[in-house]
C-alpha cells in the first residue's frame, strides 16, 4: 500500500456468464468473509488493462478479454487501508476454468439480485454492481458520486 500521500490504483473486473457474476469470497482482511468482484493493485510500470488480465489469470485461472470500462471509483473511504482509486472493467472469458488462487478462498457465480439481497459484500461493490445493472440497460460510465438513474 501507498503510505506517501498519493492514491493507490487498483482494477476490479466484472465477469458475467449465464446471468451470474463471478465473485470471490475473501479470505483476507479487509472484508474477510465477504464477497467481492475479483481485482487487485496495479504495479508501477504496468498498464491498467494488463493488470486486469494479470489479476484474473492469477486469481481465477481465466484468460479474459476486456469489453468496456464501467467506471472509476475513488471515494476516499471505500477501502479501509487507504485511498484506492479502482478502475472497473467489464470483461468476457476467452479461455480457462475458474480455480482458486492466492487471494481467495473460493469463487461463486451469483446473480446480481442474489448478490445484492443476500450476502455481505466488500468495499463499494454493491454500488459498482448497481451501476453495472444500469450499464446493461443503457451503457454509460460511472463514478463514486454519480447517481444511477
Amino acid at each position: 500500500m501507498n503510505k506517501y500521500h498519493y492514491p493507490s490504483v487498483a482494477v476490479d473486473i466484472i465477469l458475467e456468464k449465464d446471468d451470474n457474476l463471478l465473485l470471490v469470497l475473501r479470505k483476507k482482511d479487509p472484508f474477510k468473509g465477504s464477497l467481492a468482484i475479483p481485482g487487485g493493485f496495479v504495479n508501477e510500470g504496468e498498464r491498467v488493462e494488463d493488470a486486469a488480465r494479470r489479476e484474473m489469470l492469477e486469481e481465477t485461472n481465466l484468460n479474459i478479454e476486456l469489453v468496456d470500462i464501467l467506471g472509476v471509483y475513488s471515494a476516499p473511504n471505500r477501502d479501509p487501508r487507504g485511498h484506492v482509486v479502482s478502475i472497473v472493467f467489464i470483461a468476457k472469458i476467452i479461455s480457462g476454468n475458474v480455480t482458486a488462487g492466492d487471494d481467495a478462498d473460493s469463487f461463486e457465480w451469483l446473480s446480481i439480485a442474489d448478490m445484492i439481497k443476500n450476502r455481505r459484500v466488500a468495499f463499494d461493490h454493491i454500488k459498482i454492481i448497481e451501476d453495472y445493472r444500469e450499464w446493461k440497460k443503457s451503457k454509460g460510465t460511472f463514478w463514486s458520486s454519480k447517481q444511477s438513474e
Copy 2:
C-alpha cells in the same frame, strides 16, 4: 510525483464547444510549448471527479459538469516524469469564462483536425483525441493499448 513505486493518478478533461476543443499551451516542462488537454494530479483523499472539477476551475475558471469517462490511459512511458494513470473525462461548461491559471500560458479553442494536423501535442493526447473522435461516433470506452476502430 510519486517516488515510491506506485503509479500516480491524474485526470484530464475534454471540453468541446462549437466543434472546438479547449487546449492549454503548456508553460512548464514536460512538453513546454506544446498543446495539451487540461488536467492535473489527483490528491490523496480526493475523488477523481472532484479533481477534474477542481483542476478545470483552477486552470481555466470554468465550472464544468462531467458527462462521461472516455477512458483510462496508463502506458508507463506516456509521461516522462514517471508512471501516471490518467482518467479522461468528457465535460461540458456550466458557467464561467476561460482565463489563464497557474499551469498554462494561454488557452486555445482548436478543432480536432487542427489539433492533430498542425501542432505539437503533449503526452499521448493525440491518441486520446483520436479516441474521443471515435467516441463521438459510437461511444464506448478506451485505454492505452486499445485500438480505435
